[in-house]
């Protein structure tokens, strides 16, 4: 019983971090219908930045993650302007391939700079935990999850309460309508993509603290992100958050009751199972029909 409670709490904490990690992907897909396969690589890039800065300065990695938000925003902006927007104009079908190419190239660059050794940022509280009776809550997990949830709240506030956020949501519903109220649609798309990339900063920092990673780890992480959005039904934030928690708990249960070696298989199994049995996602998020009704 304790083990189950412990496992569920652990899974929930992980799910909170996963929710932040997948939020940027969901944003980009929801607004632009673009599957950004470089999202995992952005997480790993942020993780490397975090680890490197932590290694040099000793500043808390999660705090570094907050600071890196600006950097990842810039990287997202550049990525959109140089690759994504251009491919969209040439052949939208190839956006997927191009973003995958970006991911592969990024892992090459990371390997050249920092090598292929496994890295992890291990702050002082790394191996400590809080005990609640028999239940143990690791501090790193807890801090990462709290940070992630706060950032998700901030993202929500940004999308709901600011002019930029409303413009993004307006473009997602009707680009024509958005253009007619004077929104610069192209610029808003770039901002949106950059915000999506910015969410990987803290996500990557949490990754750097909680997991070991190498440049090639971006495959594992895009796998997790894809699993989360497939579970949640593409493009829905609430669905993705629920998918993140399900994946977190699923992995924790697998590790606790079966075999840790199989935890990495959980996302892929879930992807295949969901796409065969319920391609619209667990919560049946409706895909908007964009046809005219004439």
């Amino acid at each position: 019983m304790t083990l189950l409670a412990q496992t569920l709490i652990f899974g929930l904490l992980t799910g909170g971090v996963y929710a932040l990690m997948s939020s940027g992907f969901t944003l980009t897909f929801g607004v632009m219908r673009v599957i950004n396969l470089a999202h995992g690589a952005l997480l790993i890039v942020a993780a490397f930045f975090t680890w490197w800065l932590w290694d040099r300065t000793g500043i808390d990695p999660l705090l570094l993650g907050l600071g890196l938000t600006v950097v990842m925003y810039g990287i997202g902006w550049v990525l959109y302007k140089t690759v994504i927007a251009r491919v969209q104009r040439i052949d939208p079908e190839l956006t997927l391939v191009a973003s995958f190419g970006v991911a592969v190239a990024a892992s090459g660059v990371l390997s050249l700079i920092w090598g292929t050794e496994a890295r992890a940022a291990t702050p002082s509280y790394f191996n400590t935990s809080i005990s609640l009776g028999e239940i143990v809550i690791p501090r790193a997990q807890l801090y990462a999850c709290v940070g992630a949830v706060l950032l998700l709240a901030a993202l929500y506030a940004l999308l709901r309460g600011t002019f930029v956020g409303r413009s993004i949501r307006a473009c997602a519903t009707s680009r024509n309508g958005a253009a007619l109220v004077g929104i610069d649609v192209e610029r808003t798309m770039a901002q949106m993509f950059a915000i999506g990339a910015a969410t990987t900063a803290f996500g990557g920092a949490a990754l750097a603290v909680l997991y070991q990673f190498v440049p090639d780890s971006h495959y594992v992480w895009i796998g997790r992100v894809l699993c989360i959005v497939v579970l949640g039904g593409f493009g829905s934030f609430a669905g993705a958050a629920a998918g993140a928690v399900i994946l977190g708990i699923g992995e924790a249960l697998t590790a606790a009751y079966w075999d840790t070696r199989w935890t990495t298989a959980v996302p892929y199994l879930l992807i295949i199972a969901i796409l065969i049995l319920r391609p619209q996602g667990l919560f049946g998020a409706r895909h908007r029909l964009e046809g005219a009704t004439t």
Binding site: F163, R166, R169, A172, S174, G177, A179, V181, G182, I183
Partner: protein, 259 residues
Amino acid sequence: MIELRDLTAGYGGGDVLQGVDLAVERGSITCVVGPNGAGKSTVLRVISGLLRPRLGEVTLAGASIAGRSTPDIIRAGIVQVPQAGGLFGDLTVHENMLVGGHVLRRDRKRVKRRIAELAEAFPILGERAGDKAGDLSGGQRRIVEFARALITEPQVVLLDEPTLGLDPRASAVVFETTKMVQSLGATVLMVEQNVRFGLKLADHGVVMERGRVILADTAEALLARPDMSALFFGSTPQAGEAAEGREEARKSTAAGSLA
């Protein structure tokens, strides 16, 4: 108020507009009618800055605005209400109003003041402020779209097929709302398929065909013309063979621009 002179514009290879001349009187409602493919909506797209004209001039109160960007044109005082589907259904009614004030985003006070003023004229803005715009009825949506366009206190409001896909009650709402927009001091230029609806609402009527204006008169005079249905209905048996040649000419132009 708005004047188009020899306006030529199009997409890709063809010119949809082939020298449009049109003048809209200050404070009036002017309705552009004509068959499918005549270029009615393209006129609005050019004025609102969504499409750059190839040739010709667009002036607002004497000042040239041709080829300027949409935000610039909104600031200059012209706002277009899009065809059905331009409302941001995932946003609340209030948020739609805020987005409507996009070009004024540095002036939050003014946006706030305008929303309050408009809520007086259109009570639904206050009553349903927190509801998703997508959940409103057809007529209510149109009201929100009209109100959204008025945030920036435009001198000219462009309406693109405001009754498209609406039921009679919603169309009646559009009718009254447009009158209201006029009474609030704006000049209205609209494009409408539903000819009688448009001309009953408007002060002036403009008939377009094949990318040109072929007739402009007061709406009343146009409505009273005996060949009205021939002009817009295509060749009905009542209109007889006379209309056929014109109809076919129209089709061949359309083919030319599509081929």
